[in-house]
């Protein structure tokens, strides 16, 4: 059989939905699982990898138990997000996109969570905290430690 016949058109949004599923299960994309997605969907592995590497939501390396996102949207930026980010880097001892040694937090920058009215904002997993100052950060971190 020719390669072009082995493959079929994925369902609309199918590749993204499958990668989201893997990501939800493991917190990141283990390479074997990505291969499995390609086989199960019947789409070229190159295409699945192309998508997996394209998006900010996916990572090929294990991440911490909690995703700690500092919003760097415009409103947060002008209201002090860089200082919050600096503070968190110092406190956790990691740079953005790195995970703490105890695998508790992965520090991420996010471009906007759309809670600009409460800037500056930090999001932990799906929980959003607004109108933050340095002193709030410790309380938030303790909640998840």
């Amino acid at each position: 059989m020719l390669p072009s016949q082995q493959y079929r058109q994925p369902d609309a949004g199918g590749v993204l939905a499958a990668l989201h599923q893997v990501n939800m299960r493991y917190g990141y994309l283990p390479q074997d699982e990505v291969r499995q997605v390609a086989i199960e969907l019947g789409v070229p592995l190159s295409q699945v990898f192309s998508a997996a590497t394209f998006y900010a939501s996916f990572s090929f390396t294990p991440v911490g138990r909690h995703k700690l996102q500092v919003c760097e949207g415009t409103a947060c930026y002008v209201k002090g997000a860089p200082a919050l980010m600096g503070h968190l880097q110092a406190e956790l001892g990691v740079a953005p996109d790195q995970t703490t040694e105890d695998m508790t937090f992965t520090l991420k920058r996010v471009r906007c969570v759309g809670s600009c009215g409460l800037a500056p904002v930090v999001r932990v997993d799906n929980e959003t905290f607004g109108r933050l100052t340095h002193s709030d950060l410790g309380i938030i971190l303790d909640k998840y430690r």
Partner: protein
Amino acid sequence: MPADLEPLHAAGRASLYPDRIKITVGMATCGLAAGADAVYEALSQRIKQRELDAVLVGTGCIGFCQQEPLVDVRLPGQGRVIYTQMTRPRARALVDHLAQTGTLPVDRAWAVIDQEESLVEDRVERFSRLPELSGVPAYSQQPFFASQRKIVLRNCGFVDPASCEEYVARGGYRALAGVLSEMTPQQVIDEVTRSGLRGRGGGGFSAGRKWQVARDVPGETKYVICNGDEGDPGAYMDRTVLESDPHSVIEGVIIGAYAIGAHQGYAYVRDEYPLAVERLTNALAQAEAHGLLGENILGSGFNFRLDLVRGAGAFVCGEETAMISSIEGGSGEPRPKPPYPAVAGLWGRPTVINNVKTFSTVPVIMARGGDWYAAVGAPGNTGTVVFSLVGQIANTGLVEVPLGMTLNDLLEGIGGGSGNGRAIKAVQTGGPSGGCLPARLFDMRITYEEMTSAGSIMGSGGMVVLDESACMVDVARYFLDFTTVESCGKCTACREGTGHLRAILTRITQGQGTPDDLALMEEVGQAVKAGSLCGLGQTAPNPALSTLRYFRDEYEAHVIEHRCPAGKCPVGA
């Protein structure tokens, strides 16, 4: 009222206006970030403790972020009273007051909603208020709301987004029923064209004309896509609509599908909006269960499926051809236009892509007529526009105003100025594709054309206010950092050019810029605009070019005197 909707309408009225005390907590993402869930919990516990006969529900966002968390209380037959900046102790005190006196406290009562407009049904309902609340301003008189005109946001903060019934009780799905039973697809398109509605994602293209093109292209298979990939930093209009009134979007998409002859649609929502994804998923299931989506909608014989696609964190996917690539096969790289998606879009088929707000406007146009809509706003710029008013502004929040309003009326009248004693220096509109407009232009009117000719764009509605403490060079550097990271890399001019612009801006902010850098920036900026396929690259230099145009003195201070007038940049370091 169509017979199919009657039971939903009755159930919705009963939950909107119960015969008991009703306490409502604003629980969109912004409310939750300000602590609405803790307030809700405190209210719930106290209601139980005091055995108060009251219903406690969540709603979406009424748009006044500055005063979150918001709690509304409605006594049977009375207008809703809005309480601002609620905390757990204040929530408990509110329940205690209700339990002890049976009346409402005046303390922290910010406004009374003593009339509610059901826009679709063209009906205003009036409510009385307690005599002790006579001194509290009406909602319609509070400066923040007084000059707003809510069409897109008509139900936000007024219905429980988890309740299809409440949406129907405010006239929801009535327009759809009318369209399916009484109008031909061509009549629908003609009405939308007559309304003058333009694409609210920021492009400003006539929605009616786009639909006409897709309808006229021969072929059995057509698609409709709702663009909810709102990626501009500083913008959250679409998030609010999806979280607060998801059925309005669904109804608009179905009407659009009927008009162009599509039987399959997709709603693409960005991954950073988990609550919007959750609420839209829920609303889609409800619409299917009530026969409003799927086979033979409302007995009309029209079939339409609408599926949700969750993005994965890529700004470029908000561009329509990139979104199509993302839905088709994974990564989201844009394609050259023409052919436009309306001619050859998803899998090469005619595809109409419109923004969340465009779709949510459509039911109102169908119910009230294109001429009614065209009378709102300004000629050629009809209707309303939703802005997220954020940054250094006293009243941050989500506002909807008629097109043609001046920037001044928006910023001073509704926004209340900077609120910190410093003067407003500029507003940034249109996100990374837009520009910065200086204060001396604030008497200009908000129209697609005037915004563009001033060097910015209308955009999807993000409006970030900058006061004197902001450095315009730093703001430009911020946006070029954004576009450098988010450029998908397909076009060399965009991939390399945005990085160059970022490097130039970075060295200027670090005090290592030279006067030649300013000319170089302009040259690189023009090259990126000319050499990029999609809107991301074509507009990426705008933040740099517009600040250079209006704030050249700040750039010169950096490169000649090695001084940052706002004191923001480490120029001397």
